[in-house]
Point group: C2
Chain length 243, copies 2
């Protein structure tokens, strides 16, 4: 089961502020629900050597990697070439993808369209009835398109592959500031060193001042930590506790 994931977004249009990426945030939320920890997101330009370096690093570091973007038929679509270079393999034309493109384009199929049949050598194709074009999996790297609707449809078809033990979360909303809160959090971490503990101040929320998040894959551990924190905090500091 994959425990960690990296995300590589390929696209000059994100870096130049022309569009705002939606795919990374979607993937972070979905993977978290599935029990997978995203450890790194990187946004890079449409350049083969940069893609090769980042994908190679992510593939070696994390259990699974997702790329988004750079898979169309034009000159600036170079993700396939970048992934192939990362893996030290050639780019080849896949007969099954050629057949799909021939069926789709008929007599208007040209060389540019055929670029979409290119894959890193050794690729696995993942086919589902809900997506027209198979998803390309090269070792642990899922190559997904940048268009958000298609990105989501493709990920949703694959999602059960990524299900792992859930990560349990408790939120504690408090009306004291981070400065007063810090000693309580430090003490909690001494008792629960394996706890993932976050502290998020709100500056314009009349309801609470800080949201504290407690997380673990071990449900009894997070519940024991929660009890300890509530016990430590001044009674009037807590606004509410949420799941």
């Amino acid at each position: 089961m994959p425990r960690t994931a990296g995300i590589v977004l390929v696209g000059n249009e994100i870096l130049s502020g022309k569009i705002e990426d939606q795919n990374a945030a979607y993937l972070c939320r979905e993977l978290r629900h599935l029990g997978v920890e995203v450890r790194r997101i990187v946004v890079i330009p449409d350049e083969v050597d940069v893609i090769a370096r980042e994908v190679g690093l992510a593939s070696a570091t994390f259990d699974v990697v997702f790329t988004s973007g750079g898979v169309g038929p034009t000159h600036d679509d170079v993700t396939i070439e970048g992934v192939a270079r990362a893996m030290g393999v050639a780019v080849v034309r896949h007969p099954a993808l050629v057949a799909i493109l021939e069926h789709y384009y008929g007599t208007s199929l040209n060389e540019a369209n055929l670029k979409m049949a290119e894959v890193p050598q050794g690729t696995e194709l993942l086919t589902h009835e809900t997506v027209r074009f198979p998803t390309i999996l090269m070792r642990n790297v899922y190559i997904l398109p940048g268009v958000p609707e298609i990105f989501r449809r493709k990920f949703d078809a694959l999602r059960e592959r990524f299900r792992d033990d859930p990560i349990h979360l408790k939120n504690v909303f408090v009306r004291i500031g981070e400065g007063a809160l810090a000693e309580h959090l430090n003490a909690l971490l001494r008792d629960f060193p394996a706890l993932a503990l976050g502290s998020y101040p709100e500056f314009s929320n009349p309801d609470y001042r800080v949201k504290v998040t407690l997380e673990s894959r071990d449900q009894s551990y997070v519940e024991a930590a929660l009890a300890k924190l509530l016990d430590r905090l001044p009674a009037d500091a807590v606004v509410r506790v949420g799941a």
Copy 2:
């Protein structure tokens, strides 16, 4: 003048899908208008060694670097320590920041709050009347907070530092698909190899099928490239040209 920039977002809460970052997209748009090219965005967890590695790499690679997040008083605020480690310097308490905190907190100032007076040794403080707390500049690394309102206010106070020659952009909206378009773009790049040329398909827009972007710091170059492209494309392919 800075030509290139890197962005390092620090925050478990982004990677775990709890919040969606707004700061990178803001910075990409603003820096582009100022003539600065963002070359890389990376989102990493609140971990000193990871921050040190990413900030060190970005600082050595780009003219300027911006970090966002991890600068509060709690245990998970470790950006200062990460930047210091990246630069091989100590973390020190800055007397000017201590004075500001003493003024602000008065008798309720505690050790946790004083953490916000810590900076990497050798830091420069940038003070503006529009921001309460100075911005920390360590060599070419601007250390900014994650809270979007404060992030923007701090960046806006600094923005004229980053103004460079503008990047000129022309958009061409076409009603042909990328497959038919590709040969024209390839030909254009043979004549204008220094052109930054992008091709962005739209799958659900009734108005056009692809937006083509032409960019350069040389205005006459981008205008000559635009004329050449319009000359090459079939007359009925172009929906409109925009700035």
